[in-house]
Symmetry: C3
Subunit: 136 residues, 3 copies
């Protein structure tokens, strides 16, 4: 069994943003030479997340970010954390900091409309994504 | 180390639905012959999800779907996506498109009340679930 | 490839609580002798969850629990489940019952501010967490 590690940076452009990182994960998979296994896409930040959703119509990303911001406003009576980014921490735990995708025949088994997104909730910033590919 | 792949279809009956797929995953596990490892249950759709929750009282499923629909209504001022299913995409990212379960002694280590659910947010449809079992 | 299993208990002190279990997972990792692989932290309960978020300022935990409780109140018109803990089941599916962390050089690759939390949504109770470490 082989293990392959990769990290790359993502530059986000707004306070809340979703950046399609599918191509970067595919590049890591090609570099790994692994054809059958799984890939973990991991976000080491507490005000960001990883999700998988539609990458055909950019309006979907808009609507996801809009809804999350209406559910979890930046300012809320009762927030104690003094950095003004409590909402970003909450969104991180709701969306989750990693995804796992199955690899078969050297390809990620994403659905037809699925792409992998880095979700920024407290940007703009330069962020890191860790990728771990395991398999044979 | 062995790798075993399985896919099955799920027919959903309503726009929002949760279908218990525990038995289908257990069947795949039995077919795999793997006794110690892990199973990834993966949804390749962007308007559906996978979750683990109580499978004893069906009212729990009702209350989960009710709450998600109140938090993420089908129509919201500001949605841009023109297919009328923005809510389904949002719910997919909130619930998440996969779960991983530990296998020991040929059994999934689910808790007493835990079942694995396919969550439909834009049905009714015929859907696919991919299962990857890795171990020995 | 080695597989190492561990379980430990967590005592929660309030109805809704987040307990930092990073040290317990690190202890399991040290006991495993595995230096390169991954760890699955799994909650076998349907009214609790596992998340990764900031462990420096305890106000972050306060704000996460506050927001979840405002989004998913304990009592809601329409809840059918008769145990009075429908909110806890919903929160469990929103936050998710497991996390996976990459291991390199015998260390979990958590970000600088990341800790692993057991999330209690229907306590206080004595709970179990299952840990599975796979690697070499």
């Amino acid at each position: 069994m082989k293990i392959f590690n990769n990290s790359f940076t993502v530059s986000t452009n707004k306070r809340c943003d979703m950046v399609d990182i599918t191509g970067k994960v595919e590049k890591a998979l090609a570099d790994s030479g692994i054809s059958d296994g799984e890939v973990i896409i991991y976000c080491p930040h507490t005000t960001a997340a990883i999700t998988i959703n539609e990458n055909a119509d950019p309006d979907v990303v808009h609507d996801i970010l809009l809804t999350l911001s209406e559910l979890v406003p930046q300012n809320r009576d009762g927030y104690k954390h003094s950095e003004g980014n409590s909402d970003a921490h909450v969104k991180s735990s709701i969306v989750g900091c990693s995804e796992t995708v199955i690899i078969t025949g050297g390809q990620m088994q994403l659905g037809t409309w699925q792409g992998i997104y880095f979700c920024e909730f407290d940007g703009p910033r330069k962020r890191t994504v860790n990728v771990r590919i395991t398999g044979q």
